[in-house]
């Protein structure tokens, strides 16, 4: 029983998506279809515009080196002269950008190691599709031109004291450019090291320790001297085959005497070691499952094994026929049955790099993956890390500095801003938790105790959160989660945007505590801007033009936002790209991320129209259109702590008339899905001049000369209980 989304439906969606995009932006490289050969053909430059990134070069070699690059030559006075090198980023690294997919970049570098050209061939960044024009990315890349690949180039400020060259980020696409910078620097350095522009990384050789222990297979596996690499068929886009792996490999490092002897047996191990000099390293591989050959069927004498390699840091080691020895027998007791085997020799000096058994390395199986939806092939690498157990090294494992992951760098570089933002969130929650004190200090004529806090929150959220941090939550994030939940949940992806990450924690917590009102009513940058405009409109004398839709009409229109939400959800299942585009129903990107005046007129008109309308109707977008508001309203049904009501609310209209959100019905009930927690009705609740039943009681008591007791939590005066007269003292 199989049911997939029909491919014609997918294509239709993509077509619609593209026709949307075409008139508005030039999304050249967005999900561009590249020829399959670009990944594999020796002649890279027949498929990629190499000459564009290496000006002056007229002839290019085939792919060479590990990782790959090509040389570009010019003809000068009849002589061929080296101009520089061109590399395809995905040949070297697969660092993903915001979309979780790499930005495929063609990079040119001159013979002295200066960047000569950068061209993005394909990317999947939604933010560059709509919103930020691709030209911004082009401009970002232009900053590399002429810079030396060995310099310390970072996104951010230039810090001459620390020798750091800064690049200007693209606001709103920080994650994308940080990833892009890593790709540029990793790729450039990998090639520069191979061609001798940069010094190769020198790693201390391992000082191996012999323990004399006799090891069986199970022990070897347990202590990590033998490792496993399993590739399942579905990982390469093939149908599952009853649990049978695509390939199942075991491998280990033979130079360590105890391990080498255990695997090969004493005699064979001595023989092998006698043939190696001290910079050379032996690795064994056996295949215990699967049909696929790791030596490759296309292997010819004198050629290269193209399915397996070793990586240490940014150095890659490949094997030629002379680096291969037969493995006749695995001596260790309990070893699995195997159907293919090899001993490979890592010969670093052939590749201008150093390999050290003391440091971790990766055994890599290179496969092809066929995308089931599009049929496109792409490279897929599968690897398992190996690090020799500490007890086999004199002095234990060396200390290594892992490169900081992208997301962590973002948190580090923006620590101050993150701290301020977190403080804002906590403060607003704390203020709201103490709402009772504020509402009691206010009256229907003077709501400043509440409003001072709320308006401050608005202003900060508009200026700091919205315009400065660009941390406007959006429905596309909700859709992205749905997808991440289904396909692949990577914390890194969410952590790379610290503000959005923290904002969502706040939203989830407060929606369950109090409902969506605290976010929508107090902190949503667009919502705040919208209501602030309404208030300003009132203050500057436009009050008589301000109006509410009649309640019956409002009660119909409020459902529209739910339809918008469910519509987007449904579309996103078919095509995330189309859903991202339709999510433009949120004017957030136009308002905060890109700026009202930087977008094509339909977007500007829409956003400006909504904001203009907000001067006359309170929050029209929030009430009727916002899919995010709808998505948050639904769980608000089950918020834990609602607002207070008293019995008389059923006939009194005072609160309902004052409710800007039209959330109070004719029976005085509050619709928690619509309420934005403005607290106006809570001010009335304890205001003995504003709340009619309270006012009545106040007058009654005053007339009768009774004291005005404080107002209790139930919203009534605390009843006057006659204190029982003291008992007469017994005689």
């Amino acid at each position: 029983m199989k049911m997939t989304i029909p491919s014609f439906l997918r294509s239709l969606c993509t077509a619609i998506a593209l026709s949307f995009a075409a008139p508005t932006v030039l999304a050249d490289a967005y999900n561009a279809r590249l020829p399959d050969e670009i990944n594999s053909a020796p002649d890279l430059c027949s498929y990629a515009p190499c000459a564009e990134v290496l000006p002056g070069a007229t002839a290019f070699t085939e792919r060479k080196g590990r990782p790959f690059y090509v040389e570009g030559y010019a003809e000068r006075e009849g002589k061929r002269e080296l101009v520089g090198y061109v590399m395809l980023s995905t040949d070297i690294t697969d660092i993903p950008a915001y979309s979780g997919k790499p930005v495929i970049t063609l990079i040119g570098m001159d013979a002295q190691g200066h960047f000569a050209g950068v061209k993005i061939l394909k990317h999947s960044e939604p933010i560059l599709l709509l919103g930020i024009p691709e030209s911004a990315m082009v401009r970002f890349n232009e900053q590399y031109l002429g810079k030396f690949v060995g310099s310390n180039i970072e996104v951010g400020r230039t810090r001459p004291g620390e020798d750091v060259i800064g690049l200007d980020a693209i606001s709103g696409a920080t994650v994308t450019v940080i990833a892009q910078n890593q790709v540029m620097m990793t790729s450039g350095a990998a090639v520069a090291r191979q061609v001798g522009i940069l010094e190769p990384v020198v790693r201390e050789p391992a000082r191996l320790k012999e323990t004399g222990a006799t090891l069986d297979w199970a022990t070897l596996v347990r202590e990590g001297s033998v490792k496993r690499l399993t590739v399942r068929p579905e990982q390469v886009g093939l149908p599952r085959d009853g649990g049978e792996p695509f390939i199942d490999l075991w491998f280990g490092y033979l130079n360590q005497p105890d391990v080498g002897r255990a695997i090969l047996g004493e005699g064979a191990w001595r023989n092998l070691m006698a043939r190696l000099d001290d910079t050379e390293h032996a690795i064994f591989v056996i295949r215990s499952g699967g049909q696929e050959s790791f030596k490759g069927s296309g292997f010819v004498r004198g050629g290269l094994y193209d399915r397996v390699q070793i990586r240490q840091g940014s150095d890659t080691f490949t094997f030629r026929d002379l680096d291969y020895y037969n493995l006749y027998n695995v001596a260790a007791a309990g070893a699995p049955a195997y159907s293919e085997s090899a001993i490979f020799i890592v010969r670093p000096e052939h590749q201008g790099a150093s390999f050290s058994g003391a440091y971790p390395w990766k055994f890599v199986f290179l496969g092809n993956r066929v995308d089931r939806a599009t049929g496109q092939r792409s490279f897929a690498n599968f690897d398992t890390e190996f690090w020799i157990p500490a007890h086999y090294l004199e002095g234990g494992r060396p200390v290594i500095r892992k490169p900081t992951p992208t997301w962590l760098r973002v948190w580090q570089t923006r620590a101050l801003e993150i701290g301020l933002f977190a403080t804002l969130l906590v403060t607003v929650a704390a203020v709201y938790a103490n709402r009772d004190r504020l509402t009691r200090a206010s009256t229907h004529k003077n709501k400043w105790p509440v409003n001072a806090f709320k308006y401050t929150a608005w202003v900060i959220s508009i200026g700091y959160v919205g315009f400065y941090l660009m941390a406007q939550p959006s429905i596309t994030q909700v859709l992205t989660w749905f997808h991440a939940l289904l396909f692949q949940w990577t914390w890194e992806l969410f952590l790379t945007d610290p503000f959005i990450f923290l904002f969502w924690i706040f939203i989830i917590v407060t929606v369950f505590l109090w409902g969506r009102g605290l976010f929508c009513g107090w902190l949503c940058p667009f919502g705040s801007l919208s209501e602030l405009l309404y208030k300003i409109g009132g203050w500057v004398g436009l009050k008589r033009y301000q109006f509410k839709l009649p309640k019956p009409l409002h009660d119909k229109l409020k459902w529209v936002k739910y339809a918008v939400f469910f519509g987007l959800l449904a579309v996103s299942v078919l095509s995330m790209t189309l859903a991202e585009m339709l999510a433009e129903v949120e004017p957030f990107k136009t308002t905060f991320l890109v700026g009202l005046f930087n977008r094509s007129w339909p977007y500007t008109l829409f956003a400006a129209g909504l904001l203009g309308l907000s001067i006359f109707i309170e929050r029209p977008f929030c009430k009727y259109l916002c899919p995010l508001g709808a998505a948050l309203a639904m769980p608000s049904t089950f918020r834990w702590f609602g607002l207070k009501r008293k019995q008389e609310c059923d006939s009194c209209k005072a609160c309902a008339v004052g409710c800007g959100s039209l959330a109070i019905d004719k029976d005085g009930r509050i619709d928690q899905r619509e309420c934005l927690l403005c607290l106006d009705c809570m001010v009335l609740y304890t205001d003995d001049h504003g709340c009619p039943p309270l006012a009545q009681e106040r007058k009654r008591r005053t007339k009768a000369g009774l004291p005005l007791t404080p107002i209790g939590a139930d919203g009534y005066y605390i009843p006057i209980k006659p204190v029982a007269a003291a008992k007469p003292a017994s005689a």
């Binding site: 029983m1 579905e234 289904l486 049904t637 089950f638 702590f641 609602g642 008293k646």
Partner: protein, 145 residues
């Protein structure tokens, strides 16, 4: 006279007065089982037919998860089924257990469910159930995307 402290009229489900453990068990049962015998007995013929159809659909949805667990179904199909079932569950529950909880989840206040209340309840509950099963299947390696 309406009670304005709740968004809809208060309701007492049959188990509202049971002890803490009994209440937890009854609520758990309520989340997983949309039908109620009382409602079934007291309803008109077409309602009963609808309930029966619902049972069939539920059986289908269960079978779907079993198939998924056997690695025989793709994600698109699972989502489709789960969504379809959820729509039906809303209708069934409006007939059989037309109430939702009000206020803290550990409290004992219930109220009559309007259509939107029910949509929110079923949507939210089934999202959690679906996500749990999905993650379980995926981490067990039975569902690969």
């Amino acid at each position: 006279m309406v009670n304005p402290t709740m968004p809809t009229d208060p309701v007492e489900p049959p188990y509202a007065a049971s002890g803490t453990l009994g209440l937890i068990a009854a609520e758990l049962w309520d989340h997983l089982w949309p039908w109620s015998r009382a409602a079934f007995a007291g309803q008109k013929a077409h309602w009963r037919a609808l309930q029966a159809a619902g049972l069939a659909l539920a059986a289908g949805a269960t079978l779907m998860w079993v198939l998924a667990a056997m690695g025989r179904l793709e994600a698109g199909a699972i989502i489709g089924w789960w969504f379809g079932w959820s729509v039906f569950e809303v209708i069934v529950r409006l007939g059989s257990k037309p109430y939702v909880k009000e206020g803290p989840w550990w409290g004992r206040r219930y109220r009559k469910a309007g259509l939107m209340d029910m949509v929110c309840y079923v949507g939210f509950k089934n999202l959690l159930i679906g996500a749990t099963l999905f993650i379980a299947l995926k981490s067990a390696g039975l569902l690969v995307l």
